[in-house]
Every structure is written in structure tokens, then in C-alpha cells.
């Protein structure tokens, strides 16, 4: 497929989990969805069909703010070019693995505010990278 908004449909990592199609569809449009529990009220990561926090199956997709703070970060110095691996704590609560982009390692600090910046995975789906806010 040539349309970027549907490239995820050919991505084997997205295709293996049909229950996450809504996430990838939104991601292709630059929107970050979080699987959120209608019983305990909490969002979790990565998206599941059973809430890992309370066990409820009463889940919905809720659009996230796309904002968060850096929980921890490191730089892969053996890679060429180097890149920044990080965990970001989303404003909604969950913590996710990501890369910090458009930033220099030396300029980052724990607790720094970042915002989502979707970039394509090699296989086609759009992934939530983060950049300094």
C-alpha cells in the first residue's frame, strides 16, 4: 500500500494483534490512544484486552495528551549513529519504552517534559517517539 495512513495494515507486528488495529489507525493520524479501564479508571501500556491493573475486560480507547516526562534515558554509544533509549512516563500514568529524538543526550535530564512525535517503524506502523516539549 502506498497510503501512509494504512501502511500499518501490511506491518506483521501490527497484523499479529488485530485487537490493536484502532491504535495503529489512530497512530497513522498522529493520535496516541491508550487502553483505559472503565472500572479502575487507569490507563495501561502496552494495550491489552484485559486490564493488567484490575482484571476488567471493560476497556476503551482514550486519546492521550501526548505529553510526558523522562523517567530514564541512555545513549547507545556502540551504534552508528548513536540514539537515545528512554522510558517516558505519560501524563496519564503509564510508562513506556521509546527513543528521544531531535535532542542531544547531553541536554536531557530526568523529569524533563517531552511530547509524542510519531515516526514510522521499518515495517510500516507508526510508533510513539518523543521529543523535548
Amino acid at each position: 500500500m502506498s497510503d501512509a495512513s494504512s501502511a500499518w495494515k501490511d506491518d506483521p507486528f501490527a497484523a499479529a494483534y488485530p485487537e490493536t488495529a484502532e491504535f495503529w489507525d489512530a497512530a497513522a493520524r498522529g493520535r496516541l490512544l491508550l487502553r483505559t479501564c472503565s472500572d479502575c479508571g487507569k490507563a495501561h501500556w502496552y494495550p491489552r484486552v484485559i486490564c493488567p491493573l484490575c482484571g476488567s475486560a471493560n476497556l476503551r480507547w482514550a486519546e492521550a495528551s501526548g505529553r510526558g516526562t523522562i523517567y530514564a534515558f541512555t545513549v547507545a554509544r556502540k551504534a552508528e549513529p548513536t540514539y537515545i533509549l528512554a522510558y517516558v512516563t505519560l501524563a496519564e500514568g503509564p510508562r513506556l519504552m521509546t527513543n528521544i529524538v531531535d535532542a542531544r543526550f547531553e541536554d536531557l535530564r530526568i523529569g524533563q517534559e517531552v511530547s509524542v512525535r510519531f515516526q514510522p517503524a521499518a515495517e510500516g506502523r507508526m510508533m510513539p517517539f518523543f521529543a523535548p516539549a
Partner: protein
Amino acid sequence: MTIKGQACVVGAYEHPTRLAPDKSVAQLHAECAAGALADAGLTLADVDGYFCAGDAPGMAPMWMADYLNLKLSWFNGTEAGGCSYLAHVGHAAAAIAAGKCSVALITLAGKPRSAGQATGTAPRALGPDRPEVPWESSFRWTVAGVYGLMAQRHMHEYGTTPEQMAWVKVAASQHAQHNPNALLRKVVTVDDVVSSPLISDPIRRLDCCVITDGGGAIVLAKPEIARSLARPVVKVVGCGETIATNLGGYVDLTRTGAERSGASAFAEAGIRPADIDYASVYDNFTIMVIMQLEDLGFCAKGEGGRFVADGNLISGVGRLPWNTDGGGLCNNHPMNRGGITKAIEAVRQLRGEAHPAVQVPDCRFALASGPGLVVGGGHNHATVIFERE
């Protein structure tokens, strides 16, 4: 039901090779099995229980059981990464206690070094079958990278320093100088560690374990058999295991499954960390030793850096003799899986067969503990406590 005292380690063998391009993985497993059985004074015909993990050919017990032509009444192929073999000790002890088998063999072997594997610094090529992979693979995480995140967070929350982390490697090197089979026998200093090249900040090259070919094996038996053999009797008195999940996105990168596996093992053994004479604690990276010592209860959370500093892990010098074979940091990390060598050195200490320069006098209680797969993501953890009879 408790396994306390109902099974004993009767054989332990660490393959001396660290580079084996001329041997198959099956051959290494077989040589380890033969070595541990010879150590026990038993033969393959005595084995009725077999335990292995994903490093075994075919990733299951079937193929090595066939290769060795074992006559089994029990088998188990629990795959839990590097701590699989510590979990297997617990599973084997439970099987022996339940009468399912009498003599249990555990083997590990592999050849990542001769395969040229960049274990810590190359992103893993994982397929979509594991449910977290689609959400993480694009970020090219590496093993050293994830431990870098953990180390940075631990430093941030507790003030742990690179120099404190370095003390872990210094202690390992002090021990490894006495081990003729150790891959790295050169004694290093704190300055050597903190001036070694950065791999994934704050992890430096000398914070990382070695990559080696090799393997090991352990034989357990019921106490009546153990007491009939010509070896010191080493009882399994406590086992604990857990899977520490990523908590649905609320993971704390400063904590490990040792909190739970350690508490279970200590409760079963009926002793406290202060009773441990010798500890094998998995050292894939220096920070992991600090975090696990906290989580096992050897010191308060956040105090691990101060606990390991100033030689406190060096046998004959510090309060807690640790990884006296040189550990994964200096001696051996066969198939990127350090669980079995942790148990083997604990058995050596309890038997009084460690190198005289590192032997703990009157060693009665020893602990072997470690994680499997990559802490930071979900991981396995297992702890075993042994007692010399």
C-alpha cells in the same frame, strides 16, 4: 509442603572451556552432564529426572534426553533465561521431595562467543510472537541499554555512584585472579572501571559481564542417596522464584524480582540474610548486584552502592563474600546465562572446595540468586539457599 532438606546437591561441574568453536552445543551439554555425574560418583544410568532450558538443542528436554539415552520418570523444560537453572534446582528438589524422581540432572551449555554474538550491544531481532515486541522493537533496545536506564534511575533516586558500581567489578577481579579457568584474571581498580569506555551511559565496558562459550551441570539426589556418596552433603533448604512483570506500564526500574524470590527462599530456609556465609548473586552488570543485594535484604533499599563499596564483597576482606569464582564479570557467563555457575560456586564454597585464597571458613549457608531475561522489561527471578550438612 516444603522442600527444605529433602534434596541435596551431589554433583556440580563447570565446563573449563570459554571458547569452543570445535564442539557442538549437544557435546557441551553431554560433557557437562558427564562431569557433574562423575563429581557425584554416579552414572547416566542413575539419572531419572532431567531439567534443561531454552539453550538445550531443540529448546526442550527431549533431545538431550535422547542423546544421553536417559531413563526418565520426570522432566522439566522451564525456560526462564539465565536464572532457569536456579529455578530448576527448586523444581528438581520439589520433584525429589514428591517422589517423582531420585536423581535429577540439570544442564546448560552454549556458544555465543564463538558465534560472535554482541550480546549486550546489538538490538535483538525478535518476531511478533511476544506481545510486548510490537511496542518496543522499533526503539532498538539493547541489553546494555536497558541496564543503563536502570543504573541511571538508581543513581537518580538513591545517589549511587559509578565508583560504587565499579567496586563490584573490582571484587570480581580480585577473586578471578585465583581461578585458572576465568576469562579475565587481571585485577582491576575502581579507576580502571570508571575510565573504561562508555557503552550505554552510565554503563561502561568494565561494568559488563563477559561473553563465553561453555556450560555447567548440577546433580541433585534424595538425601539417602546423597549420604551414601563420598561427597560432602549440601542440602537445598530454600527456593523462591517469580516473574516480575512490567506492571502494566507502571514498572519501577530500580527493583528486581529478588524481592519476591529472595523472601520466599529465606522464609522456607527459616534464616535471614545475616545468616548467609557466602552469596552468589548474578552479575550481568555491576548495577544488578547492587539492586539485588538490596532486594534480597542484605541492606536497605538504596543502600546497595554503599554496601558494595570499599571491598565489602571481597572474600576475606568484606562482610559478604560474593561470586568467589570471579562471577559473570570476570570468570564465565556461558550461553549468556549465569544461573548455573552461581549455584556451582555456592556448592564449592559449602564443600570447602573453592580456591583457598577465596574459601569462606566454615561455610554453612550459601545463597545463589539471579534474574532471567532482561530486568527492566518483565523478567524471571530465582533464589536458592543451600546448607552444608
